[in-house]
């Protein structure tokens, strides 16, 4: 009798990854049901790849019922742009590009020099694209395990008419009852993969054999060591004086502005090896690879308040 009960229970249990998947799908469907004009940010990074994969599953066999938006800093890894275009073509998606370069060329954004990191300026392009497109919900691939300020972020993150986030004035979220009511001009940022950790993302992408940009897997690359960050030598990264170029096996843990995203040494050329490395790593992905988050302890909090993702 007891064995039978156990067997029955075992059959109706979800694994942790299936639970995360179900919760994310619920959030994505809720947004599409309640908002008029959602859009999903897509950088080609693994988190946005995961988010898009979940969105496709949430509406299958129907197509994804909203466009995707790439905030293009102009400092891209060519592999990522190729990947983006391939995904768009393969799944018949609508792609909108919010181009920083266009804003810079138009004199709307002032940059110190051509090759400084443009991560900070993404906010301007993003807010402008949200306004122009009239989007009332914007999906982002932020995860709460990434960084302290993100740990307090809601799944539905309310933004005022200026796109600003007020950490003290966030709507409480209970059960799975999300309140997306808003006035015209306001919008909601939605983070459907809030509860996934870096390791969860890798385990799930591996399970589903989801295609990723090749730079996420170990490959040989010319890099220089800048204060512990392994920076790729390319058109966006001027060699610091006296820097020593090394050819190493590396991979990327995050994909951001090419001037500010560093690689890590790795031999992991396929999913299983990446998972092993991720399970064993002792440094956060942002600490290891993002020059821009290191500047101040409260760097992320400040950027979020301005409307950054």
């Amino acid at each position: 009798m007891e064995e039978a009960t156990k067997a029955r229970q075992a059959a109706v249990e979800l694994t942790d990854l299936d639970t995360l998947e179900a919760e994310s799908v619920h959030v994505i469907r809720e947004v599409v049901a309640e908002f008029e004009n959602p859009v999903m940010l897509f950088s080609g990074g693994k988190d946005s790849v995961l988010m898009l994969h979940l969105a496709r599953k949430a509406f299958a066999p129907a197509p994804v019922p909203f466009p995707i938006m790439h905030v293009d800093t102009g400092h891209n890894f060519p592999e990522v742009i190729e990947f983006r275009d391939r995904v768009v073509a393969e799944h018949g998606l609508r792609l909108e590009v919010a181009s920083l370069q266009e804003l810079i060329d138009a004199g709307r954004i002032k940059v110190g020099h051509e090759l400084e990191s443009r991560n900070r300026h993404q906010t301007v392009a993003l807010l402008e694209a949200i306004q122009t497109g009239g989007y009332d919900a914007v999906f982002g691939g932020g995860r709460r395990d990434e960084e302290k300020a993100r740990a307090k972020e809601r799944v539905f993150s309310f933004r005022d008419g200026f796109g600003q986030w007020d950490p003290k004035n966030q709507r409480p979220e209970l059960w799975n009852l999300y309140n997306g009511r808003h006035k015209k001009g306001e919008h909601i940022r939605v983070f459907p993969i809030s509860d996934w950790t870096e390791l969860d993302v890798w385990r799930y992408l591996a399970r589903e054999q989801v295609d990723l940009p090749p730079i996420y897997f170990a490959h040989e690359r010319d890099v220089v060591n800048v204060e512990g960050l392994l920076m790729a030598v390319n058109e966006f990264f001027p060699l610091p004086e006296g820097a020593e170029v090394e050819r190493l096996m590396v991979r990327y843990r995050t994909v951001g502005d090419a001037t500010a995203t560093g690689a890590v040494r790795s031999e992991a050329t396929h999913y299983e090896a990446v998972i092993e490395e991720t399970a064993a790593t002792r440094i956060t992905e942002r600490g290891a690879t993002r020059g821009d988050d290191r500047f101040s302890e409260a760097a992320m909090e400040d950027r979020k308040k301005e409307g950054y993702f």
Partner: protein
Amino acid sequence: MASSELLRIATAGSVDDGKSTLIGRLLHDTKAIFEDQLESIELTSQKRGNEQTDLALLTDGLRAEREQGITIDVAHRYFATPKRKFVIADTPGHIQYTRNMVTGASNANLALLLVDARKGVLEQTRRHALLSSLLRVPHLVLCVNKMDLVDYSEAVFDEIREEFTAFAAKLDITDLGFVPISALEGDNVVERSQNMPWFDGQPLLGQLEDVHIASDRNLVDNRFPVQYVIRPQSSEYRDYRGFAGTVAGGIFKQGDEVMVLPSRRQSRIAQIDTPNGSVAQAFPPMAATLLLEDEIDISRGDMICRPTNQPTANRRFEAMVCWFDETSSLRTDAPYMLKQTTRWVPVEVEALRYLLDVDTLHRDLEAETLDVNDIGRISVHASSPLFFDEYRLNRNTGSFILVDPTTNLTVAAGMIIAAGGDPATGEIVAQDITFHPSKLSQEERWSALGTGGATIWLTGLSGSGKSTIATAVEHSLVSGGRSAFMLDGDNLRHGINSNLGFSPEDRAENVRRTGEIAKILAEAGNVAIVSLVSPYRGDRDRVRAIHEGAGIPFYEVHVDTPLEVCEERDPKGLYAKARAGEITDLTGIGSPYEEPPAPELVPDADLETAVRQVIGLLG
């Protein structure tokens, strides 16, 4: 890595009882903390002159918190062992943040409470236990922390355990565990403590890994709130109509007979799709898509269940709520929007039964409102029936949030106790009202009639000319071939409202009844023209809400004739009587008139113009 379960933990504790340190310890000892994070907090600890690395710094996220040295909101932390993935909703302990604890507990499988071994069970400990029980967190573990500061004394631990057990007996806590720990030293957190050989239970992490959560779900009562309808409209899937949602209760199997609420139409499950393909059965918390054998009109907010096991369908219910909003208090004279499962419904709070003192469990029956962090019992009246279960039977179908329609803020969270409380006494009336929707949809009816219904609501002082305008509008519409019907306040008081006087309560009921009748007339395809003083804003707003809830146009027309003019006209001699003191509660003299802040129309003083303006509203 083997697949594992996900366990959600809500933590709570008083300031300084070491909660942040405990979480830091769990993260650290399960290797969920990275070197760069550790370096950063080591540096900060040194700067502050701390001897040891302050693990609490790991979880104190925002700048304001670091400055105040306290946690101010719900923060989520993640760690995993080979057995389970854990999500911690870390909530602050101090009194003003009850709402955060409630938020964290709403999804938790387990509540982790901390007490300081030196201080024992405090008011806050009791409050957190009560909230966990109110939110029906199935498991509770009490950590007696700082055992190192009481020489790892078994007697101290036993005393706290007994005191807390006695208190917990008054609450509804099904599974209660205890563990003596030192978060600072790591005793009994991950590893069994060498300092407390007398404790024969598992260390905390072991308890978290082994607690049985699979049977905490309701797997008996099948509930599937429809979230979204998937219709690919591609040649390949021309006939695909899938009802997507998250299973809220029970186990749905292919071939099962199902009933759809509110239409009460029946069919069978033809296919169950999930993100991972078709499956034979779906259970909570799966995201699934149900395909039925018959073509039934189903939309978001409908509930799929079994014909033999339906949720309660009722407009009225009793609930416990926690008030969240700092800027407003609970009002019984204003409409709210309620979200339950996938439905938004306009509601009003009919009564506050009592305010619960979370420290003494005392029920204050005299309380007039609920403010932020208050918990109380209310009676709710929804503009259309909700399909729900008692919260204690199903957390998914028994929970709701209240939203202020003006600010869009989530002002309260609620848990349904029972259906259909008597509006006056709160006693649960045995009733099994089933909502019988008309077989015709409003759209079908109106399109067959070639015209749609609407309500024109004329409000204003006695003698302002409401009835004159209403009569003229009715005449004009009817002679133009449109079905219109006037509801005059005075006339209704001779019939359906003959048992009502002029107290604010009776006036409210007068407006409510008239509003319901207008709505029915409009639903049937007529233009209902109401002429009623209806002096209170809240009463009128409620009528508007029931119309909006039913998708019927509602036009508030403020006949704004100055009091002097009304008094001069005095067609019924009421003003003269009021001035003579014969009647005391005439609107404008002894009783207030609350002007509509945003009426659809304030008509011109000229009758002909006014009639044209009112008819113009109908488009």
